[in-house]
Symmetry: C2
Subunit: 492 residues, 2 copies
């Protein structure tokens, strides 16, 4: 007779197998599926979600958890039980009718958003978003009661367990003190060196070849994953079979390329999650912030490192003919250009935090009930003026209507982008102390760097809490100075 | 409160959604998955099979069936209930430990076969096949008891409900009276016209383009399906999203092309199964024989029709340069060549039935217990000598070890290939009476032919029993004379 802990691991093994099918069918939906397959696929995935929810929230799971806590467990098993408990609690705390109402309101709002954003129609969007916010507040209240944290923090913890707004205020508060000046300084400096713009068209099949070459350099395991195309790039699949996607534009040589480098970072994390715990919650990625730290480590810390850019240039020139924009100095400067803009997803790594902090401040106030949906456009404009000197007056499309995240109620997600950038900088600072990183990047064999990431991050899965993971890896808790130092070193 | 019939349709709707995920993950496994994904995928698909088996065989399903039979139902609902009952009965009749033992013995035998076939090692293969046969006999006995038919017929009915060996003996017995002489006559005739062999290499990407062009001509709905590559071509996916595959060889222009035409026949059947019944058993394809009749209708009745071959030649010449083998007469003759050979999958439509009848006779005797596994090689050799004048003495690789079917216990499947060829010929004979088929094929717009197939076969799903379907479509039960007449007309 298996004991309660064994019952749990068996149940979560099953859940993970069903999640596998959802991951592949979800990837297929984005990367392969023809249009008429959409309705049946949506139904099939919804049926699977329902099944997984039922298997996860069955009362006996709660009984097993209670009993497992009394059993003698190894520290890894305890960590696994901790993650099991977390997933169970997150899944059971919401009543079914709230989840259903959220799903309905979310898809209504997201669906309408696709056209309303294009027509800059805030007035029609506002009531739909209000409904989503109202339900998100209900969710936040229930989750806050269950976990004893504030309403916003309860949502934040869905993506970044252990993080809270007090810490974010300190981290982001620090950034706000130096970022606007730094942006000004960098811009003034860059204005002195005019850039040559790359001239397309750049064949998408050659872009793909270049991307595959870079993935090889970055250690992507092609026996355990693929690169394909989708409208919205992502990293999906399962650890032994990671599916990353990108999208190509013939006008733009670098967007898909750095997208591929970014997703390769996510992919290597997934491919190297602890093998001996496959199928158990403790083998899953630690948090969205840590996940993003790996993609940004690849994209920003390594990918835009000047010595890496030199090698990237060599690769690019193996597929595309020389042109003035591809001269070494211009190649590097082009990929280091800093330009305040309205659109988050187009932002460089220097201005990106401004976009995130603005969203964090607004969504937090929104969830906590300190502002209402109607206040968003003015606040957005005000904060964009303050941080990047740009106006979004009456420009909802490129202002508060630009992101998909809020449309389906994903409040608490945005901070993970900048947490990721900070973690990445801190990991690199530690690696720099352990090895001659510039020399390693110069030689092109990044194995020692990847080995450090593997033993300190990837292979740790969720065995440690995030703060403990970062402390064990770098000797300190998250410290935004490393990120600041990184920006100064690279851009000034 | 839903009634018992509604409970059943709801349960089968769920089953169909889970089957959808299995179909896509199964396609992915063959067409997309990198090698390291295999273990986790196998586990995920096994977990899904288990779930589907549990949902299908839950005792309450039996209660609903019993109660639904007392309800007033439309004739379509009755047909659906009939198919539901059939699936339930097929799934519940075997004890779990037999299914498990079969699965184990089957994968052991199939796995070993891959290397043992290559090394022509019958001695090592024999004990593994014995185990599979022994379990298949157990299965056949249980199914026979449950359905009141013979042991072999009980397995045959898994693939071809309503068919039995008495009918097969008549059908195949008729073929045996005329086929050997017909083959001799055709060969003598063809020997008079020497053929020019197509000279490769034929670029696989151009082969793919040609295949896509033919699929368009044949009405494949690209908004509801795809063409990809796999080691073993198949038609998978779901009706709104049919995935067909092929494999290309640079040496061979026609193998992939006719493979694509064949799978397009399967695909159009799936794409046009009755939409209003999607997700219910009555909306599934009628039988393996009827399925194969559609692929063979496309490949043989249409695809190798001389007037279609002329158009195919035009398409080929849009992608490949002219060469002597592609001159019109040679193009047609090349795709009409008849050559007795040892390998079933390489056989032309004239010699193919000989391969099937041989296997039918052996597998039937094997399942009924009239012969033992040790008798197979000699019987095979004897029957090959009699039907095609070829020896397989000591050549197990190209004799009784050539097929995968028996390795995992799929006895009763082989007859469906030749049933399909016969149904296809009978459908074409009826269509010829309704419209000027040669003229339609000549013009290139096959819509009237497809419309006939759609209303008589595709859109009927499993609403009618096979014999009734064929009678309503053609005015008579399956009659092998149409197949004979087709071969005589085309090849003599
Ligand atoms: Zn990312
Ligand atoms: Zn077929």
């Amino acid at each position: 007779m298996p004991n309660a802990y064994q019952q749990l691991t068996h149940r979560f093994q099953r859940l993970s197998r069903f999640a596998h099918l959802g991951a592949i069918a979800g990837w297929d939906m984005q990367a392969m599926m023809p249009p008429k397959g959409a309705a049946a696929r949506g139904e099939a995935l919804a049926e699977l979600r329902l099944l997984r929810h039922q298997l996860l929230t069955e009362p006996v799971v709660g009984d097993w958890i209670a009993e497992a806590k009394t059993l003698p467990l190894s520290s890894s098993e305890q960590a696994n039980l901790h993650e099991i408990t977390r997933q169970y609690t997150l899944a059971t705390v919401l009543p079914g009718n709230l989840v259903e109402a959220q799903s309905l309101a979310g898809s209504r709002c997201e669906h309408a958003w696709r056209t309303l954003r294009a027509s800059n129609d805030w007035a029609s969007f506002e009531p739909l978003l209000k409904e989503v916010v109202s339900l998100a507040r209900e969710e936040a209240t229930l989750r806050a009661e269950a976990t004893g944290v504030s309403r916003y923090d309860a949502l934040l913890n869905l993506y970044e367990p252990g993080m809270n707004s007090a810490k974010l205020d300190t981290l982001f508060g620090s950034v706000k003190t130096w970022l606007p000046d730094l942006i000004q300084e960098i811009m003034a400096r860059q204005a002195r060196y005019p850039l040559v713009t790359p001239q397309g068209p750049f064949s998408t099949s050659l872009q793909r070849e270049t991307g595959l070459d870079v993935m090889k350099v970055l250690g992507f395991d092609f026996e355990a994953g693929r690169l394909d195309i989708s409208a919205h790039p992502f990293c999906g699949g399962v650890p032994d079979d990671v599916r990353i996607t990108t999208r190509y534009s013939e006008d733009d040589l670098f967007s898909a390329l750095f997208g591929v480098i970014h997703e390769t970072g996510h992919a290597r994390y997934e491919q190297n999650l602890p093998r001996e715990w496959r199928g158990q919650p403790v083998a899953e990625a630690r948090s969205m912030g840590i996940h993003e730290s790996q993609s940004l480590f690849f994209e920003m810390q390594v990918g835009r490192h000047p010595l890496f850019l030199k090698q990237l240039r060599t690769l690019v020139l193996q597929h595309f003919p020389q042109q003035p924009a591809l001269e070494e100095d211009n190649f590097i400067a082009w990929n280091h250009r800093v330009t305040p803009g309205l659109i988050r997803v187009d932002a460089d790594e220097v201005t990106y935090p401004a976009h995130v902090i603005l969203r964090y401040e607004i969504e937090r106030a929104l969830v906590e009930g300190n502002i209402e949906v109607g206040d968003i456009p003015d606040l957005w404009n005000e904060k964009m003026q303050a941080s990047l000197g740009l106006s979004t007056q009456n420009n909802y499309r490129d202002g508060c209507m630009q992101d998909i995240h809020w449309t389906d109620g994903s409040f608490g997600y945005f901070p993970t982008y900048t947490l990721g950038a900070m973690y990445a900088a801190q990991f690199m600072a530690t690696i720099r102390q352990k090895m001659d990183t510039d020399e390693i990047i110069h030689t092109g064999d990044l194995t020692p760097v990847f080995n450090w990431l593997n033993s300190n991050i990837w292979n740790k899965g969720s065995l440690l809490a995030t703060d403990e993971l970062v402390k064990q890896a770098t000797g300190e808790s998250l410290n935004p100075d490393h990120f600041r130092q990184h920006l100064i070193t690279r851009y000034l």
